[in-house]
Amino acid sequence: MLAYILAKFLSVRLDSLFVATFVFLWIFLVTAFMLLMGLIGLLAPTPLLLGSLFGLVILLVPGSLRAKAIEIVSDIRKLRQAFGEWWHSLPIWLRWFTGIAVLVSIFRFAALTLIFPPFVWDSLTYHLTNVAEWTQRGRIMLFDTSMTRIYTPANYETFTLWFTVFIHHDVVVEMAGLPAYALAVLSLYVIARRLDFSRSASWLGALSFASTPALLLATTGTKNDPHMAAYYLFTLAVVVTLSSNPKEDEQPNQLGQLTLLAITILYAFGTKAYIAHLLPGILIIAVIGVKRGQGWQRWMEIFRDSVRQLRNTRRLQLLLLVLILVAGMFLGLFWNTRNWVLQGNPFYPYGVEVGNEEVLPGAERDAEISFSRLRTNFTDLFLDKFGDKQSRIMPDLDNTTGWGWFVYSIGIPALILGCILDRRVRMLALGFGVSLTLIFFSIRPSPWNMRYLLWFPALFSLSFVWLLDELRKADHQIPRIAIRILTIITLSMNYIAMLNYGRIPPERFQAMLAIPLLERDAASLRINMPGEYENSLKIIPEEALLGYNLHSNGFIYPLYRADFAQYLVYVPVSVQGTCFEVAEAMRTRGTRYLFIAPEHTSDSVISFLNDCGESEIALRERTGNLYVLKD
């Protein structure tokens, strides 16, 4: 309800931007609420429901807000009517294709979420470890672990709590990427429409982006990258809307949209700091202007109008604006401020290096901006990843771009031709190119780093929208029909290839289906999971406190179990110490069990504990990777 009222307050009219704004504000408000409740230790269904109810009552006290809330009934009717008109304006073949694509997507997302537990590497190491610990404790807090990356900005993890806290289970946790997926696709449509492309071309462009394998895989991958792609594109959508001339039937709301812009950027910053590397690209698009006359001069007008609007704003509206901005600052700056206070480095666990000098020490590698990284990243992109030729597209995007059939068949020629013939495509390419270059200055070269670029294929889709509109001007029907057929084929190929993440063999599929829905632990999906996890969880009683020693890139999350029933404690092990010291560390932390796993615990610790187990001095080896205190 609040998301709806705010969307009315910050948007201009009931159109696609309004829907995108609503989706973003819902994510924003859920995160703010979860963070607030989490910090005061009230992350449980009853306090959350009571808190929401209380908020709703407070919200409906002021008359003007109540009036806006009551409008929801007539607005839903208007939106339904507008949707009906929009739907019938699309050509029949596109309606059919959309219907099938939506049905397949719903089925695919539901099946992947329900059949498979989370299995993507980084989510099992730190993203979901935070979610599991906070869900268990009912509080957002730091905890003792070998995983220093739990310190990184965590708006995504906080938002994900909404999918776990109420049912105290991870069965739908993979759905936390779906709102971001919807926002990214809607934003692309908004950008295309605001650049005056036709409705059907814009929608087909949005569908083409929706079918990008890298985005499809990341959406249910329980990582924050699809969220970042969504915020990048939504920021661009708001910028393009602000700088374009208002339509005949709309009252400009520059102040509201500037606020929306500010909170989107702040929210993205609290999700992953690399938004700072991407924003200059959008800034360039704003300053130069996608269309003539929409550059910095237009922004001067916008700021002047906003100041005028601010002067005429009523006190209650002003209060609401201030509250929204405060919430934005809270979500944008909380994590870094916490790290600064606790560790003396806002970017902890990453250190910061300037020149050859470390100015801010960190626990992990230093953040680095260098030409050598830029060169290596571009070389890797064009020599190793481009064309997805090294291997199949899989969730970690190992040496592939994950851009898929559509981008390589139609997207690339559309972009090249668009850059030559159309200013809008040229300006978009410039902005996206600047963002790409700047992020390549800083990301660590690796086979898996294309996940930072999930937003980039949107450029190909926007160029394709231009191409479709151009082809409408041609005399012949055949090229038009041919491009439609090829588009449908390539999008279908993208969907088919990604039906089961491109990596889960039928016997694993069958094995997962044989396990009851609520018992599908992350440990039971053995595609990248050592068997030791599942075997140990069969032995250890749920009510026991489980000690673990896993290194800073090891899977912690599977040990919590799907229903977060297993409580964990980190047990440090020094290979210079004695077995008695390990036993003492376990006793002090209140656990009888110590779990380790090959490739997830350092080899020296494994070998040291093996010796302890064999000599049976203080520890007994229960299985090859589970040690129990000797009575």
Partner: protein, 60 residues
């Protein structure tokens, strides 16, 4: 619109389609076709007939 512009526009449309088709064929290499086969293996378990048909279509 002059006939020259018209001709150029039409030529351009045909060229785009031609390039797209070429790129499509370039992208469709064995390991990528395998990505398509991979879900079919799962599909075979659900719907053997459809999987068989798709397998024949992709040519393995």
């Amino acid at each position: 619109m002059s006939s020259k512009t018209k001709l150029w526009r039409n030529l351009q449309s045909w060229l785009v389609i031609f390039v797209c088709l070429l790129l499509f064929l370039w992208y469709a290499r064995p390991q990528l076709l395998y990505s398509l086969i991979f879900p079919f293996q799962v599909m075979e378990w659900f719907f053997p007939g459809i999987a068989e048909m798709l397998r024949a279509l992709v040519g393995t």
